[in-house]
């Protein structure tokens, strides 16, 4: 029987690219995304005992990565007091097309469901596990977010 450590290690190495892309979608910086994935890997091993069912290791690790990314964003926002950064951010925002801009500006929970559903092709049940929400919550959140983005996609 594979140990929890073995399962977690295997998923971290096999799906590194996925975890990296998810982190990058939030922080938009290679160095920061790398840090986030490493921090998440550390926590996944250190707190391996908290993983109840090894079958759900992948979604459990996703949860850790997203949590790390979101708290990183919160900290970054707090520390951003210089007007220069805000100017830069505004200019960058103008360059982006409306849709890309809209996706960037989504709330973390909304961004999460979009990324996991349409970029990582996760099943709704998996997304519900990652977000620790019910399936119906995830469905309605997706539907609402698509309306917000004015997209006519299947939920």
């Amino acid at each position: 029987m594979k140990t929890k450590d073995a399962v977690i290690s295997e998923i971290l190495t096999t799906d590194y690219a996925m975890f990296y892309r998810i982190a990058y979608s939030y922080v938009r910086s290679e160095a920061d995304a790398q840090d986030i994935v490493q921090e998440s890997a550390y926590k996944a091993i250190y707190y391996a005992k908290k993983l109840k069912n090894p079958e759900y290791a992948k979604t459990w690790i996703c949860r850790i990565v997203i949590n790390e990314a979101v708290s990183f964003l919160r900290k970054r926002k707090k520390n951003q007091t210089e007007p220069m950064d805000r100017e830069l951010a505004c200019r960058e925002a103008e360059d982006m097309t409306d849709l890309r801009n809209a996706v960037e500006k989504l709330q973390p929970e909304e961004k999460t469901v979009i990324i996991l559903r349409y970029f990582e092709d996760m099943k709704l049940e998996e997304i519900a596990r990652v977000c620790e929400e019910s399936l119906s919550t995830v469905k309605s959140r997706l539907y609402r977010t698509l309306k917000k983005l004015k997209l006519d996609l299947e939920v």
Partner: protein, 223 residues
């Protein structure tokens, strides 16, 4: 290409740093070290704490008993401490060990070194064992792994048939199922001096069944 498809494409083409996975492996190894270092400290610490506790209590018990005896018995505890001073040992606790109470201390200290679960609620199902003669050491345990694993599989089959319980047994359909225990398997020794193998909830059976225990009959626990 629609804008949405463009955005999806850009996501899928996010470049992955080539040294990323390698650096992550180092971080993972360090996490495992840090995590398990506490396990070792706790095990050593609890062993030392248990021994110390007995050693501390023993002189107290000796003193208490001699309080009922003749006055000459009162000299006993004083002798202990006098000798401690005469041997130049500033630590009276170590003297108590030298006074030959070591055997009693060892007998009362926890037996299994491979488990941290010594306070389970007694036997779940008594599998009808004869009077056991076991030398409970970690080496003996590792020699019996094959036999113990076979016994566990037998008991799992029995429980599944008789009680309708579900166990995860290794098969082609379920390669992660239980096949045999490892040397690091959690276990403890119960009052009948039998090995009790302990599985965390969700490892060999559905989590709802909670912690799973198997009592190994004495005749099985032989190399």
């Amino acid at each position: 290409m629609t804008e949405w498809e463009q955005i999806k494409k850009e996501y899928r083409e996010i470049p992955i740093p080539t040294d990323g996975p390698h650096q992550m492996l180092e971080v993972m190894a360090s996490a495992k070290r840090k995590r398990d270092q506490w396990k070792r400290v706790v095990k050593c610490g609890s062993g030392v704490a248990a021994a110390l506790l007995v050693v501390i209590l023993l002189p107290g018990i000796v003193f208490f008993n001699s309080g009922f005896g003749e006055s000459k018995d009162m000299a006993a505890p004083e002798t202990l401490f006098d000798s401690a001073e005469s041997t130049g040992s500033s630590d009276g606790w170590f003297f108590a060990t030298e006074a030959g109470t070591a055997e009693e201390n060892k007998a009362e200290a926890p037996q299994s070194t491979a488990s941290s679960e010594v306070d389970c609620d007694g036997a779940m199902n008594n599998v009808g064992s004869s009077a056991p003669v076991l030398e409970n050491s970690a080496e003996d345990f590792s020699l019996c792994i094959e036999n113990i694993s076979a016994e566990i599989l037998r008991q799992m089959e029995t429980r599944m048939q008789e009680n309708g319980e579900t166990y995860y047994i290794k098969s082609e359909l379920y390669p992660e199922g239980f096949e045999k225990i490892s040397e690091e398997q959690n276990y403890y020794v119960n009052e009948d001096e039998l090995y009790v193998i302990v599985f965390e909830a969700g490892t060999v059976a559905p989590e709802a069944m909670g912690v799973i225990e198997f009592i190994i009959p004495a005749e099985v626990a032989v190399p």
